[in-house]
Amino acid sequence: MDKNLLLTSAEMAQFASVGFLRFDNLVPRELCEAAHGEMSTGKLKRRAPMGAPFSEVWPDEAIGKVFRLPKVEAIIHSLVGPNPRYDHHAAHLTPAKTRKGANLHQDAEYDIRAQHFDIQTSFFPEDTPLESGGTLFVPGSHFRRVHESDIKRYQNIVGQVQAVCEAGTIFFWHTNAWHSARSNFTDRDRYMFKLRLNPTVRQQRLWNTDDLDSPEVTQNLNQKMPWHGQRHRIEIMNRVKYWRFLTGDPTFDLALWWGRVENTPDIIHPEQKIGA
Protein backbone atom coordinates (compact mmCIF):
# COMPACT_ATOMS: atom_id res chain seq x y z
CA MET A 1 0.00 0.00 0.00
CA ASP A 2 1.46 3.34 -1.09
CA LYS A 3 1.49 5.46 2.05
CA ASN A 4 0.99 8.60 0.00
CA LEU A 5 -2.37 7.38 -1.22
CA LEU A 6 -3.75 6.75 2.26
CA LEU A 7 -5.91 9.32 4.01
CA THR A 8 -4.08 11.90 6.05
CA SER A 9 -4.79 12.48 9.73
CA ALA A 10 -6.48 15.77 8.80
CA GLU A 11 -8.80 13.87 6.46
CA MET A 12 -9.49 11.24 9.10
CA ALA A 13 -10.30 13.99 11.59
CA GLN A 14 -12.70 15.41 9.03
CA PHE A 15 -14.31 11.98 8.72
CA ALA A 16 -14.53 11.71 12.51
CA SER A 17 -16.35 15.04 12.70
CA VAL A 18 -18.50 15.04 9.60
CA GLY A 19 -19.12 11.32 9.11
CA PHE A 20 -18.22 11.24 5.43
CA LEU A 21 -15.53 12.18 2.93
CA ARG A 22 -16.04 13.19 -0.67
CA PHE A 23 -13.55 12.54 -3.45
CA ASP A 24 -14.24 13.98 -6.88
CA ASN A 25 -13.13 12.40 -10.16
CA LEU A 26 -11.67 9.31 -8.52
CA VAL A 27 -12.85 7.04 -11.30
CA PRO A 28 -11.91 7.63 -14.95
CA ARG A 29 -14.81 8.31 -17.32
CA GLU A 30 -14.38 5.12 -19.35
CA LEU A 31 -14.52 2.98 -16.24
CA CYS A 32 -17.56 4.94 -15.04
CA GLU A 33 -19.30 4.20 -18.33
CA ALA A 34 -18.47 0.50 -18.09
CA ALA A 35 -19.70 0.30 -14.49
CA HIS A 36 -22.84 2.24 -15.37
CA GLY A 37 -23.45 -0.21 -18.21
CA GLU A 38 -23.28 -3.12 -15.79
CA MET A 39 -25.79 -1.45 -13.48
CA SER A 40 -28.27 -0.34 -16.13
CA THR A 41 -28.32 -3.66 -18.00
CA GLY A 42 -28.77 -5.73 -14.86
CA LYS A 43 -25.50 -7.57 -15.42
CA LEU A 44 -24.13 -6.78 -12.02
CA LYS A 45 -24.48 -9.97 -10.04
CA ARG A 46 -22.98 -10.75 -6.70
CA ARG A 47 -20.16 -13.20 -7.22
CA ALA A 48 -19.53 -14.09 -3.59
CA PRO A 49 -21.76 -14.44 -0.53
CA MET A 50 -22.28 -11.80 2.12
CA GLY A 51 -19.39 -12.00 4.51
CA ALA A 52 -16.87 -13.03 1.85
CA PRO A 53 -13.55 -11.24 1.49
CA PHE A 54 -14.33 -8.20 -0.64
CA SER A 55 -11.46 -9.09 -2.97
CA GLU A 56 -13.46 -12.12 -4.18
CA VAL A 57 -16.68 -10.32 -5.06
CA TRP A 58 -16.21 -8.88 -8.56
CA PRO A 59 -12.96 -10.28 -9.97
CA ASP A 60 -13.71 -9.39 -13.60
CA GLU A 61 -16.42 -6.73 -13.59
CA ALA A 62 -15.89 -3.03 -14.16
CA ILE A 63 -17.35 -2.29 -10.74
CA GLY A 64 -14.62 -4.45 -9.21
CA LYS A 65 -12.02 -2.42 -11.10
CA VAL A 66 -13.51 0.76 -9.64
CA PHE A 67 -12.87 -0.49 -6.13
CA ARG A 68 -9.43 -1.80 -7.01
CA LEU A 69 -8.21 1.59 -8.22
CA PRO A 70 -5.15 2.32 -6.03
CA LYS A 71 -6.56 5.51 -4.52
CA VAL A 72 -9.95 3.91 -3.83
CA GLU A 73 -8.29 0.90 -2.20
CA ALA A 74 -6.14 3.24 -0.11
CA ILE A 75 -9.16 5.19 1.17
CA ILE A 76 -10.95 1.96 2.06
CA HIS A 77 -7.80 0.69 3.77
CA SER A 78 -7.58 3.92 5.79
CA LEU A 79 -11.13 3.45 7.11
CA VAL A 80 -11.62 -0.30 7.52
CA GLY A 81 -8.17 -1.71 6.96
CA PRO A 82 -6.79 -4.42 4.70
CA ASN A 83 -8.95 -7.30 3.49
CA PRO A 84 -12.35 -5.82 4.30
CA ARG A 85 -15.37 -8.07 4.36
CA TYR A 86 -18.15 -7.65 1.79
CA ASP A 87 -21.46 -6.85 3.47
CA HIS A 88 -23.88 -5.93 0.68
CA HIS A 89 -24.31 -3.62 -2.26
CA ALA A 90 -27.13 -1.98 -4.19
CA ALA A 91 -27.18 -0.26 -7.54
CA HIS A 92 -29.78 2.28 -6.44
CA LEU A 93 -31.89 3.46 -9.34
CA THR A 94 -33.95 6.63 -9.21
CA PRO A 95 -35.81 6.66 -12.51
CA ALA A 96 -36.26 9.85 -14.51
CA LYS A 97 -39.01 12.14 -13.23
CA THR A 98 -39.30 10.42 -9.85
CA ARG A 99 -40.40 12.21 -6.75
CA LYS A 100 -38.99 10.57 -3.65
CA GLY A 101 -40.79 12.43 -0.85
CA ALA A 102 -39.32 12.80 2.59
CA ASN A 103 -36.79 10.08 3.04
CA LEU A 104 -34.20 10.96 5.66
CA HIS A 105 -33.03 7.86 7.50
CA GLN A 106 -30.17 6.05 9.14
CA ASP A 107 -29.36 2.63 7.72
CA ALA A 108 -28.21 0.73 10.74
CA GLU A 109 -30.16 1.37 13.91
CA TYR A 110 -29.41 -2.22 14.90
CA ASP A 111 -25.67 -1.48 14.93
CA ILE A 112 -25.04 -0.49 18.52
CA ARG A 113 -21.29 -0.92 18.53
CA ALA A 114 -19.79 1.88 20.57
CA GLN A 115 -16.90 2.81 18.26
CA HIS A 116 -16.19 0.09 15.69
CA PHE A 117 -17.91 0.94 12.44
CA ASP A 118 -18.60 -0.14 8.88
CA ILE A 119 -18.37 2.12 5.90
CA GLN A 120 -20.60 2.63 2.94
CA THR A 121 -19.60 4.14 -0.35
CA SER A 122 -21.78 6.09 -2.71
CA PHE A 123 -20.31 5.96 -6.21
CA PHE A 124 -21.87 8.17 -8.86
CA PRO A 125 -21.07 6.73 -12.31
CA GLU A 126 -22.64 9.63 -14.20
CA ASP A 127 -22.66 13.39 -13.80
CA THR A 128 -25.13 14.15 -11.03
CA PRO A 129 -26.49 17.70 -11.16
CA LEU A 130 -28.67 19.10 -8.39
CA GLU A 131 -31.91 18.29 -10.18
CA SER A 132 -31.04 14.61 -10.59
CA GLY A 133 -31.26 14.19 -6.81
CA GLY A 134 -27.98 12.72 -5.59
CA THR A 135 -27.77 11.50 -2.02
CA LEU A 136 -28.19 14.07 0.74
CA PHE A 137 -26.10 13.75 3.89
CA VAL A 138 -26.42 15.42 7.28
CA PRO A 139 -22.88 16.25 8.46
CA GLY A 140 -22.12 15.23 12.04
CA SER A 141 -25.11 12.88 12.40
CA HIS A 142 -23.21 9.58 12.74
CA PHE A 143 -23.12 9.58 16.56
CA ARG A 144 -26.89 10.03 16.79
CA ARG A 145 -28.71 6.86 17.74
CA VAL A 146 -32.08 6.91 16.06
CA HIS A 147 -34.35 4.25 14.71
CA GLU A 148 -33.91 4.05 10.95
CA SER A 149 -36.85 5.90 9.41
CA ASP A 150 -38.16 7.54 12.57
CA ILE A 151 -36.46 10.72 11.36
CA LYS A 152 -38.44 10.91 8.11
CA ARG A 153 -40.41 13.78 9.58
CA TYR A 154 -37.30 15.96 9.27
CA GLN A 155 -37.35 17.46 5.80
CA ASN A 156 -34.49 19.90 6.12
CA ILE A 157 -31.57 20.28 8.47
CA VAL A 158 -29.32 23.31 8.38
CA GLY A 159 -25.97 22.39 6.85
CA GLN A 160 -27.26 19.40 4.87
CA VAL A 161 -25.12 18.48 1.89
CA GLN A 162 -26.40 17.00 -1.34
CA ALA A 163 -24.16 15.07 -3.70
CA VAL A 164 -23.88 17.33 -6.73
CA CYS A 165 -20.93 15.97 -8.62
CA GLU A 166 -19.30 14.79 -11.81
CA ALA A 167 -19.10 11.16 -12.85
CA GLY A 168 -16.46 9.27 -10.90
CA THR A 169 -17.13 10.88 -7.54
CA ILE A 170 -17.28 8.65 -4.48
CA PHE A 171 -18.54 9.47 -0.99
CA PHE A 172 -17.14 7.28 1.78
CA TRP A 173 -19.37 7.40 4.83
CA HIS A 174 -19.88 6.06 8.30
CA THR A 175 -22.89 3.72 8.16
CA ASN A 176 -24.69 5.66 10.85
CA ALA A 177 -24.71 8.96 8.95
CA TRP A 178 -28.20 10.31 8.27
CA HIS A 179 -28.92 10.42 4.56
CA SER A 180 -31.66 10.60 2.02
CA ALA A 181 -32.22 9.87 -1.64
CA ARG A 182 -33.61 12.82 -3.55
CA SER A 183 -36.10 13.42 -6.31
CA ASN A 184 -34.87 13.03 -9.86
CA PHE A 185 -36.41 15.82 -11.93
CA THR A 186 -34.37 15.06 -15.04
CA ASP A 187 -35.20 12.95 -18.08
CA ARG A 188 -32.41 10.50 -17.27
CA ASP A 189 -32.42 7.59 -14.87
CA ARG A 190 -29.91 8.09 -12.08
CA TYR A 191 -27.77 5.39 -10.48
CA MET A 192 -25.89 5.52 -7.23
CA PHE A 193 -23.87 2.47 -6.36
CA LYS A 194 -23.85 1.70 -2.65
CA LEU A 195 -21.41 -0.74 -1.12
CA ARG A 196 -21.10 -1.66 2.55
CA LEU A 197 -17.81 -3.02 3.89
CA ASN A 198 -16.87 -4.41 7.32
CA PRO A 199 -13.44 -4.17 8.93
CA THR A 200 -11.55 -7.35 9.75
CA VAL A 201 -8.87 -5.65 11.84
CA ARG A 202 -8.93 -3.16 14.68
CA GLN A 203 -9.57 0.28 13.18
CA GLN A 204 -6.55 1.95 14.64
CA ARG A 205 -4.07 4.18 12.78
CA LEU A 206 -4.83 2.60 9.44
CA TRP A 207 -4.20 5.88 7.60
CA ASN A 208 -1.01 7.90 7.03
CA THR A 209 -0.37 9.34 10.48
CA ASP A 210 2.60 11.55 9.53
CA ASP A 211 0.50 14.65 10.25
CA LEU A 212 -1.12 13.36 13.44
CA ASP A 213 0.06 16.36 15.46
CA SER A 214 -0.91 18.91 12.82
CA PRO A 215 -3.10 21.82 13.99
CA GLU A 216 -5.47 20.94 11.14
CA VAL A 217 -6.40 17.74 12.98
CA THR A 218 -7.52 19.67 16.06
CA GLN A 219 -9.22 22.25 13.88
CA ASN A 220 -11.22 19.59 12.04
CA LEU A 221 -12.19 17.83 15.25
CA ASN A 222 -13.34 21.09 16.82
CA GLN A 223 -15.58 22.23 14.00
CA LYS A 224 -19.14 23.15 14.81
CA MET A 225 -22.13 21.83 12.90
CA PRO A 226 -24.81 24.52 12.69
CA TRP A 227 -27.62 22.11 13.54
CA HIS A 228 -26.10 20.73 16.74
CA GLY A 229 -27.23 23.76 18.73
CA GLN A 230 -27.18 23.13 22.47
CA ARG A 231 -25.94 19.57 21.89
CA HIS A 232 -22.62 20.72 20.43
CA ARG A 233 -20.60 19.98 23.56
CA ILE A 234 -21.84 16.41 23.83
CA GLU A 235 -21.09 15.93 20.13
CA ILE A 236 -17.52 17.15 20.71
CA MET A 237 -17.12 14.74 23.60
CA ASN A 238 -18.30 11.86 21.42
CA ARG A 239 -15.85 12.93 18.74
CA VAL A 240 -13.00 12.90 21.26
CA LYS A 241 -13.91 9.36 22.30
CA TYR A 242 -14.03 8.31 18.66
CA TRP A 243 -10.62 9.88 18.00
CA ARG A 244 -9.21 8.09 21.01
CA PHE A 245 -10.50 4.85 19.49
CA LEU A 246 -9.09 5.62 16.05
CA THR A 247 -5.68 6.68 17.30
CA GLY A 248 -5.39 4.25 20.22
CA ASP A 249 -4.57 7.19 22.45
CA PRO A 250 -6.80 7.08 25.55
CA THR A 251 -5.45 10.43 26.76
CA PHE A 252 -6.40 12.49 23.71
CA ASP A 253 -8.63 15.43 24.49
CA LEU A 254 -9.80 18.78 23.21
CA ALA A 255 -9.85 21.58 25.76
CA LEU A 256 -10.24 19.23 28.74
CA TRP A 257 -13.71 18.08 27.75
CA TRP A 258 -13.07 14.59 29.08
CA GLY A 259 -10.07 15.48 31.23
CA ARG A 260 -12.38 17.53 33.38
CA VAL A 261 -15.02 14.89 34.07
CA GLU A 262 -12.51 12.07 34.29
CA ASN A 263 -10.74 13.96 37.05
CA THR A 264 -11.87 12.24 40.25
CA PRO A 265 -8.78 12.37 42.49
CA ASP A 266 -8.63 9.92 45.36
CA ILE A 267 -5.34 10.94 46.91
CA ILE A 268 -6.00 12.32 50.39
CA HIS A 269 -3.86 15.29 51.34
CA PRO A 270 -1.84 14.51 54.51
CA GLU A 271 -3.46 17.34 56.45
CA GLN A 272 -6.95 16.02 55.61
CA LYS A 273 -6.39 12.50 56.91
CA ILE A 274 -8.92 11.50 59.53
CA GLY A 275 -7.23 11.62 62.92
CA ALA A 276 -4.28 13.61 61.56
Binding site: G101, R145, Y154, I157, W227, Q230
Partner: protein, 96 residues
Protein backbone atom coordinates in the same frame (compact mmCIF):
# COMPACT_ATOMS: atom_id res chain seq x y z
CA UNK B 1 -72.17 28.96 -3.15
CA UNK B 2 -69.33 26.41 -3.01
CA UNK B 3 -68.88 24.56 0.25
CA UNK B 4 -65.81 25.69 2.13
CA UNK B 5 -63.68 24.01 4.76
CA UNK B 6 -60.76 24.91 6.95
CA UNK B 7 -57.56 23.07 6.21
CA UNK B 8 -54.36 22.89 8.18
CA UNK B 9 -50.76 23.65 7.40
CA UNK B 10 -48.24 22.30 9.89
CA UNK B 11 -44.79 23.79 10.21
CA UNK B 12 -42.25 21.93 12.32
CA UNK B 13 -39.40 24.12 13.50
CA UNK B 14 -36.43 22.56 15.26
CA UNK B 15 -34.49 24.99 17.43
CA UNK B 16 -30.98 25.03 18.86
CA UNK B 17 -32.34 25.27 22.41
CA UNK B 18 -35.65 25.65 24.22
CA UNK B 19 -36.02 29.41 23.75
CA UNK B 20 -38.56 30.38 21.11
CA UNK B 21 -36.06 33.01 20.05
CA UNK B 22 -33.26 30.55 19.36
CA UNK B 23 -32.16 29.74 15.83
CA UNK B 24 -33.95 27.29 13.59
CA UNK B 25 -31.69 24.29 12.89
CA UNK B 26 -34.22 22.22 10.95
CA UNK B 27 -37.70 22.48 9.52
CA UNK B 28 -40.51 20.64 7.78
CA UNK B 29 -43.75 21.79 6.21
CA UNK B 30 -46.81 19.59 5.81
CA UNK B 31 -49.46 21.39 3.82
CA UNK B 32 -53.02 20.08 3.97
CA UNK B 33 -54.40 22.94 1.90
CA UNK B 34 -53.17 21.54 -1.38
CA UNK B 35 -53.47 18.21 -3.13
CA UNK B 36 -50.05 18.57 -4.73
CA UNK B 37 -47.55 15.76 -4.23
CA UNK B 38 -45.37 16.24 -1.23
CA UNK B 39 -41.86 17.21 -2.26
CA UNK B 40 -38.61 15.53 -1.32
CA UNK B 41 -36.67 16.55 1.71
CA UNK B 42 -33.85 18.97 1.60
CA UNK B 43 -34.86 21.13 -1.34
CA UNK B 44 -34.30 24.37 0.53
CA UNK B 45 -31.11 25.52 2.12
CA UNK B 46 -32.45 28.38 4.21
CA UNK B 47 -35.11 27.96 6.88
CA UNK B 48 -38.35 29.86 6.28
CA UNK B 49 -37.95 31.72 9.60
CA UNK B 50 -35.05 32.54 11.88
CA UNK B 51 -36.92 31.44 15.00
CA UNK B 52 -40.33 30.35 16.25
CA UNK B 53 -40.96 33.91 17.37
CA UNK B 54 -40.42 35.16 13.83
CA UNK B 55 -42.93 32.58 12.57
CA UNK B 56 -45.46 33.65 15.22
CA UNK B 57 -45.14 37.24 14.01
CA UNK B 58 -46.09 35.94 10.56
CA UNK B 59 -49.33 34.40 11.79
CA UNK B 60 -48.24 30.86 12.77
CA UNK B 61 -49.81 29.51 15.96
CA UNK B 62 -47.70 27.34 18.24
CA UNK B 63 -49.68 24.20 19.06
CA UNK B 64 -46.93 22.14 20.67
CA UNK B 65 -43.71 22.94 22.49
CA UNK B 66 -41.17 20.32 23.58
CA UNK B 67 -40.89 19.05 27.13
CA UNK B 68 -37.58 19.60 28.83
CA UNK B 69 -36.14 16.51 30.40
CA UNK B 70 -32.85 15.45 31.87
CA UNK B 71 -31.03 12.62 30.11
CA UNK B 72 -31.51 9.16 31.54
CA UNK B 73 -28.82 8.06 33.95
CA UNK B 74 -26.11 6.38 31.89
CA UNK B 75 -27.18 8.16 28.69
CA UNK B 76 -25.77 11.58 29.49
CA UNK B 77 -23.44 11.44 26.48
CA UNK B 78 -25.93 10.07 23.98
CA UNK B 79 -27.56 12.29 21.38
CA UNK B 80 -30.37 11.09 19.18
CA UNK B 81 -33.42 12.97 17.84
CA UNK B 82 -33.76 16.73 17.49
CA UNK B 83 -34.77 17.86 20.97
CA UNK B 84 -36.45 21.20 20.48
CA UNK B 85 -39.30 20.49 18.11
CA UNK B 86 -42.03 23.12 17.93
CA UNK B 87 -45.22 22.45 15.97
CA UNK B 88 -46.98 25.45 14.45
CA UNK B 89 -50.17 25.69 12.42
CA UNK B 90 -52.04 27.93 10.09
CA UNK B 91 -55.61 27.32 9.11
CA UNK B 92 -56.73 28.25 5.67
CA UNK B 93 -60.24 28.36 4.29
CA UNK B 94 -60.49 26.55 1.00
CA UNK B 95 -63.30 25.58 -1.32
CA UNK B 96 -64.37 22.05 -0.53
Amino acid sequence: MPETQQRQQLLFLYLGNSSLESEVIGWSLYDGTTDETFEAAGEDNEPPYKSVLHAMRDGWRVIQAPFLKAPQVGREYENDYLDFEFVLEKLETVNG
